[in-house]
């Protein structure tokens, strides 16, 4: 219950929800469209684009539905560290696995 955004009425929430749902429909269609299009050689470009759209979609849910855009500093701090460690886990693991000297078995 954050004091900062006490609802005026349910109506204001209906409007927010309608917009969010519309954008979710649009982003989902955009992802599917990208997936079936003939962009680039192979999948690299398409995967990048699709993930970028997914991030927009996720931002919407986290930002508005979870009202993360108007959250307290404490929660930002917790999530900031979490994001950092997640990137560390993914990034360093991929780096370590791809960083084998040439000619040695990697997997």
């Amino acid at each position: 219950m954050s004091e900062s955004e006490k609802p005026v009425s349910l109506q204001s929430y209906f409007r927010l929800c309608a917009v969010v749902f519309l954008v979710v429909v649009c982003t989902t269609s955009a992802m599917i469209g990208t997936s079936f299009s003939h962009l680039g050689e192979g999948w690299t470009l398409k995967v990048t684009l699709i993930l970028a759209i997914a991030v927009v979609n996720a931002f919407l849910v986290a930002g508005y539905l979870m009202h993360l855009l108007s959250e307290k500093k404490l929660i930002y701090t917790v999530l900031g560290f979490t994001a950092f460690f997640f990137i560390g886990l993914l990034g360093l693991t991929v780096w370590a696995t791809n960083g084998f000297p040439p000619g040695t078995v990697s997997h």
């Binding site: 219950m1 954050s2 004091e3 006490k6 609802p7 009425s9 349910l10 929430y13 209906f14 927010l16 929800c17 969010v20 749902f21 979710v24 429909v25 989902t28 992802m31 599917i32 990208t34 997936s35 079936f36 999948w43 398409k46 995967v47 699709i50 993930l51 759209i53 997914a54 979609n57 996720a58 849910v61 986290a62 539905l65 979870m66 307290k72 404490l74 929660i75 917790v78 999530l79 560290f81 979490t82 994001a83 460690f85 997640f86 886990l89 993914l90 693991t93 991929v94 696995t97 791809n98 990697s106 997997h107």
Partner: protein
């Protein structure tokens, strides 16, 4: 004895206990799915060229499920908003929608699982591969004893690689029909279960864990909607907090699906 700040916000942090608790829990969930997504990335990047399957999952069903979850996230938000403006009837309505949407999601998911588990690939003794959905088998079908026949709706390919990319023109042009194979001709028979290959392993594990989260969330929301809603009469403020906290979890589950859908269905 009373625990402080179960309902009201602590002045210096600005939040109540349960809200901090659920965000901490979600942080650990981020790391849980972070570990799983890391596994996905590593296995996909490490796969031999041309080995990673495409188009194995039904995009239509996936899209429907995506929209169902998005809708349920919205009804969850509205249920909380209804609590805040003290409209209990509307809360009941919105969370009833949430529960129905979640159950539909699980129904579609189990149909998809069923589809994969009845999809067989048979390695034939002549080196070819038969691939298709199970239709029927003769009464005496026994792979170990090499008796009887099995009928699949699908096709036979020369090279297993043709089964990998179902978005390719070759795969799209393939004609599917009922084929009956004798057990004596089968070298190895297996369904598209988790053990089939790395993709199905990841698909079943990630969506399975996600479905467990859906199930758990649904149970919690059902409790708060049914017997748990008695608290509305005694302590509406605290009840509203419970709805918010369970809603945060539900939105997170939606968030995970937002990444699972493109990663598994679209790429």
């Amino acid at each position: 004895m009373e625990i402080p700040y179960t309902v009201q916000n602590r002045p210096d942090t600005g939040i109540y206990n349960a809200k901090l608790g659920v965000w901490l829990f979600l942080a650990s969930e981020v790391m849980l799915f972070g570990g799983l997504f890391s596994a996905y990335v590593l296995l996909r990047v490490g796969a031999a060229p041309g080995d990673w399957p495409h188009g194995w999952l039904n995009v239509t069903l996936g899209t429907v499920n995506t929209l169902l979850l998005a809708l349920s996230a919205i009804t969850t938000l509205l249920a909380w908003a209804a609590c805040k403006v003290r409209e209990f009837g509307k809360f009941k309505f919105f969370h009833a929608c949430t529960i129905l949407l979640a159950l539909t999601f699980l129904g579609i998911k189990s149909y998809e699982y069923h589809d994969k588990l009845t999809h067989y690939e048979a390695q034939l003794t002549n080196g070819k591969f038969a691939d298709g959905h199970f239709v029927k088998e003769s009464k005496d079908f026994n792979l170990a004893k090499k008796t009887g026949t099995i009928t699949l709706h699908g096709h036979i390919v020369e090279d297993r690689k043709e089964l990998v990319d179902l978005r390719s023109p070759v795969a799209k042009a393939a004609k599917h029909e009922e084929i009956t194979i004798a057990a004596t001709d089968i070298k190895k028979l297996g369904n598209y279960g988790p053990a089939h290959n790395t993709f199905t392993a990841i698909y079943f594990t990630l969506t399975g864990l996600h479905a467990l989260h859906i199930l758990g969330g649904t149970l919690v929301i059902f409790y708060l909607w049914g017997p748990g809603s008695r608290m509305w009469k005694t302590d509406p403020e605290r009840f509203t907090n419970r709805i918010e906290v369970s809603g945060l979890f539900w939105h997170f589950v939606d968030l995970v699906w937002i990444f699972l859908f493109p990663v598994l269905y679209l790429t």
